[in-house]
Amino acid sequence: MRPVYMITGGITKFAKAHPEMDFRLMVKEAFDYALNDLPGLTRDMIDGSVCSYFSDHFTRQLKAGAMVQDYLGLCPKPSRRIEGGGATGGLCFQAAWEAVASGRMEVCLAMGFETMSRVNTWKGNEFIALASDTNFDYPVGGFYTGYYAMMVRRHMFEFGTTVEQMAKVAVKNHRNALHNPYAQSPAELTIADVRSSPMVATPLTIRDCCQMSDGAAVAVLASEEAAARLGGQAVRITGVGSGTDAMRMADRPHGGVILLPHESSVDYTGLKYPGVHSFRAGRMAAKLAYEMAGIGNPREELDFVELHDAYTSSEIQTCEDLGLCRYGEGGSFIDGGHSFLPNIDYGLSFPAFSPTARNHIPVNPSGGLLACGHPVGATGLMQAVFAFWQLQETIAKHLGDSTLQIPDARRGLIHSHAGTGTYITVSILERV
């Protein structure tokens, strides 16, 4: 395998609905943004593409990827679809990485979209729930928020996690998004706002859940030689990992924790893992990505994380999977303020916390899925684009606001997640 770089990226605004654009035009808009941002790159230099979108039901169009390929003028170059539920975008990013790392392509376009506005919210929830076992899970009351509610209920039981800790995730991510013009639902929320919002599935309120969106995102990956030739400020992808778990939550084992290098088995005496409280696939993905990138202690060695916070609860759970804190400490981790941006007033106080490079690790500075929205096939690529801009230190240029720029960000992690944790990807990006 040879080194792979991200050389440019682009996104559309994520919105409740983009009736004025179909999926082809949304991707085209993100693609043109990416091309404009790297003048050395032209369409003819792209060797092929991978296209991510989750649900054929949402678009009522099979083989939609072929229509994007021709709309962008990339025929007859190679292309294929990548699909893996909510992790579709992250899997697509890694498929493009594989295309370049293997030497098959010099420059590969990863492009993703979802148009979720064409059906009503509850039909959309039904479509999403079809990504659970349709014999045993879906007919019982198939609803992803219900599944996540059961997972976090068990997390609360095992570890004492509270709804206020979950609400703090919503406060953080929505306030971060006030500085991100691409975000769908920036808001100045309080813990009380989150808790007094309509209950969806106890204990998750509507403010604990991400929204459905229309949107597209692209990332262009290239070999070292192509990146050098095309100019710009490339960012190196130093680690990729992915993992899986049983489709049905009910089937998850109750065994031992998969340990990261900085952990020891005595940290987890008596903990039955992953059960339904943790995402084993996320831990596996992180372990593989850290091994490839040579990361021994992620909290100390990463400068920021963009993770798949489809729910406030899943951000807390995922911080543990990624080893930013130990299993069981996700709640106190958010209480401690370690994942907040130090230059934003969240209306919260973190008495014991003074940020240093070693203990501070902003999580979802972009606003995450909770505030940016979740147009499924685009989401994992949106994370790649935000991470790319962070590492280029071009947040101010792209967002028109420097608030979210993490000073001297050198290494970031992106995390994409499907189902109740069935497919999860982790990729590490580094400034060169």
Partner: protein
């Protein structure tokens, strides 16, 4: 050859929501002839008031939700009757849901754990108010008299 050939006109029209851009209503509906295949005995069992899990003939791992082959070792499983009493492993009350289930809200989902069984079973809990449900609460299986051959032919009540 007929230079005046015409497509027949219809009165079908379209339901129009907007004109700039044009937004029309498309209806989409489908019937599947779905086979439960190797999982069929589970659904047949529900009609007889039994709850069938799986037991691996290789490593002995037991599953509350049946599967034909073991997830741990790949060996074929055999049918394994479950106890009809268990405990709530986790729970939620859904106030919203997918469109198909909206009319049933609020409903309570539970993952049930059984003594001596390695995995869990997803079901509905009835007969308890949302605030009465707790992790560890004993529950008992009940079966519908009029079967629908769905996993909701079994549900749980407080034991």
């Amino acid at each position: 050859m007929n230079k005046n050939a015409k497509l027949p006109e219809t009165e079908e029209g379209s339901v129009l929501f907007n004109v700039e851009p044009i937004i029309v209503k498309h209806h989409y509906e489908i019937d599947y002839l779905h086979s439960y295949a190797q999982d069929s005995p589970f659904f047949a069992g529900l009609t007889k008031g039994t709850l069938l899990g799986s037991r691996c003939t290789g490593c002995g791992y037991t599953y509350a939700t049946p599967r034909g082959h073991c997830m741990e070792c790949g060996t074929r499983t055999e049918w394994h009757p479950l106890p009809l009493e268990g405990r709530v492993h986790t729970y939620t009350t859904c106030h919203f849901g997918g469109e198909a289930f909206l009319k049933e809200t609020p409903f309570t989902l539970v993952l049930v754990e059984f003594d001596g069984v390695d995995t869990l079973f997803l079901s509905r809990l009835v007969g308890a108010e949302p605030e009465e449900v707790a992790v560890g609460m004993p529950v008992r299986a009940r079966f519908r008299r009029n079967c629908t051959f769905k996993p909701t032919d079994v549900y749980f009540v407080p034991a």
